[in-house]
Symmetry: C2
Subunit: 338 residues, 2 copies
């Protein structure tokens, strides 16, 4: 297998937990393959900000924070979001003041991140600069770019009570636990958004673009819905390889099935590959990676015109995520050679 290591420029399109863990695997693989060279300039994360929300006057960017904390060593590993050694006194007290909503897991340590971000945004700094400032502390070892500096928020149209109405994605995800069927998702603000600074350039200069095993609808889909971003990806000379977030017909984490249902896509490794589509046929993918549990799906994916590999894709810890990154980059390397 050709080595996709030294000098390879990698862009990863990522949501929260799955994206963050996959990014950490990519970073660890590149570090191991080429120990002398920092990864910071070689790996760029383009992160979903459609889950962002303002609560209690705090601007909260769940996916950016999950990426930052995971790569910076501050994540609650078992949980996959939020800070290790977290306490919830701010949240308890807000509840004692009868502040709503009460369904958001606002940690005390996490609150400090939101305070810094909110202050900088209020002072006029764009989210990309705020993210860079926060990352100065976390030293994630990759460049972390918000998909856009403009505010884009995913709202979910649901039937509830006497009719259709829209709730913020976080309310649907956390309060309703995605149990109320989504009729559709609306990216509020997406029309006027542009890709964040550096995003289009990173895509244009990339050797490989990886689509992390993140929610294909509300994470990756939201990133791709930023006007100009999908076009930049399609125009990129990079090989584009995605990793299925669906294993054995179910999401590895989260409730992506509820999101796929809403857009009429089957919750399967093949279904998501079809959603992204084959490059050269109006889609994005030069390659697709499924878990070994879905080895019997490889033929169906390749029938869509997408070269496919089955590898162990369950990121149980850093070594398994690193091995996954190695396998995915190997496929990208083969595709470059082909």
């Amino acid at each position: 297998m050709p080595a996709m290591t030294a000098g390879t420029s990698v862009v990863v399109i990522a949501g929260g937990t799955g994206g963050a863990r996959f990014l950490r695997g990519v970073r660890e693989h590149l570090r191991a393959a080429d120990p002398g060279t920092p990864t910071d300039d070689r790996v760029t994360a383009v992160v979903n900000t459609g889950d962002d929300i303002t609560l209690f006057g705090l601007r909260i960017c769940p996916d950016l924070d999950t990426v930052m904390y995971t790569l910076g060593g501050g994540i609650h590993e078992d949980q996959g979001w939020g800070r290790a050694d977290e306490t919830f006194h701010v949240k308890e007290e807000l509840a004692a003041y009868k502040m709503r909503p009460d369904w958001f897991g606002l940690g005390d340590r996490d609150t400090a991140t939101h305070l810094v971000r909110t202050q900088m945004l209020d002072a006029g700094y764009p989210l990309s600069e705020v993210t860079a400032a926060l990352c100065a502390r976390w030293a994630p070892g990759v460049r972390v770019l918000p998909m856009s500096d403009e505010r884009v928020e995913t709202h979910v149209v649901v039937d509830e009570g006497d009719g259709e109405h829209a709730v913020h994605f976080q309310e649907w995800w956390l309060r309703m636990r995605a149990q109320v069927p989504a009729r559709r998702f609306v990216s509020v603000g997406a029309d006027g958004a542009r890709p964040g600074p550096g995003v289009v350039e990173a895509l244009a200069e990339a050797d490989v673009v990886l689509i992390a095993p993140s929610n294909p609808v509300v994470s990756v889909g939201t990133v791709l819905a930023v006007p100009g971003l999908r076009d930049a990806l399609v125009a990129s000379p990079a090989r584009v390889v995605g990793v299925s977030p669906i294993v054995g017909g179910a999401p590895v984490r989260g409730m992506a099935d509820a999101c796929l249902d809403a857009v009429g896509v089957e919750t399967s490794a093949v279904g998501v590959a079809g959603l992204y589509g084959a490059r050269g046929h109006g889609g994005l993918l030069d390659g697709w990676v499924v878990d070994t549990a879905d080895a019997d799906s490889v033929a169906a994916v390749e029938a869509l015109g997408i070269p496919c590999r089955a590898v162990p894709a369950m990121m149980r810890d850093v070594p398994t995520a690193t091995a996954l990154a190695r396998d995915v980059l190997a496929l990208a390397g083969e595709l470059r050679e082909a």
Copy 2:
């Protein structure tokens, strides 16, 4: 001694810890003297807001919070400020982000109070309504009124480095620990401030106005500097009795001596009585209460035209504060009878 209990309407002018403990004593005394009648409508606290500060985007009102937490059972009793069972993770994290300043003791539980307040203020509610909303949780048993809804901030002019410059009171108090001599205090915003809603009315309707053993310069002095407030006090039919915050020539708490030095007043029970002055002679006081340790000052205070009593004035706990309140109200009662 005449009973100053049922039906007596009391206004207390208060700063932070000393004011809050004294207020709790007043409440407890009135409750004990007249168990059937709620104190909420009979006791009004007019609280200094000159120490208020905006840090990390949070509007912080230290004296209002100390009063609220003390009367609401949430105070850290030994410390006299901040919350019981407090943690400091937000503060630790802000420091990890290299946020400045690092000298403010921002607790996690406390942060929730500031978040609620900041949101309500940003939504357009005046501080008095915000305070009432916060007190709906704490049920302090007295009416807590900010001295003003307008923003008034005490700044301290100091010599530092190559010249005179002004710092926020909190910076002087906490970072400099009042060790850098104050040249003068400036109440920024006081010129355009008005007494908060209900303050003038409470003074006009009061039977007794008590000046708590708070810092006479930056707490009580700042309250009295709100245009119209001092006039309302002087015009009030109430008896005005103060309690010396200086015992044995030193402040019971805090660094009031540094403040008194700056305004050229001796740090003594007599000095502070003279600063407030005798009513009918351009001053405020109908009576003055000193600690028994200063019994030999009684004659000097009375020579200023201010009836004076020496009683145990050290508020070591709720019972001693309650006894002090009883003694102070007894003096006010005598003065009313006289």
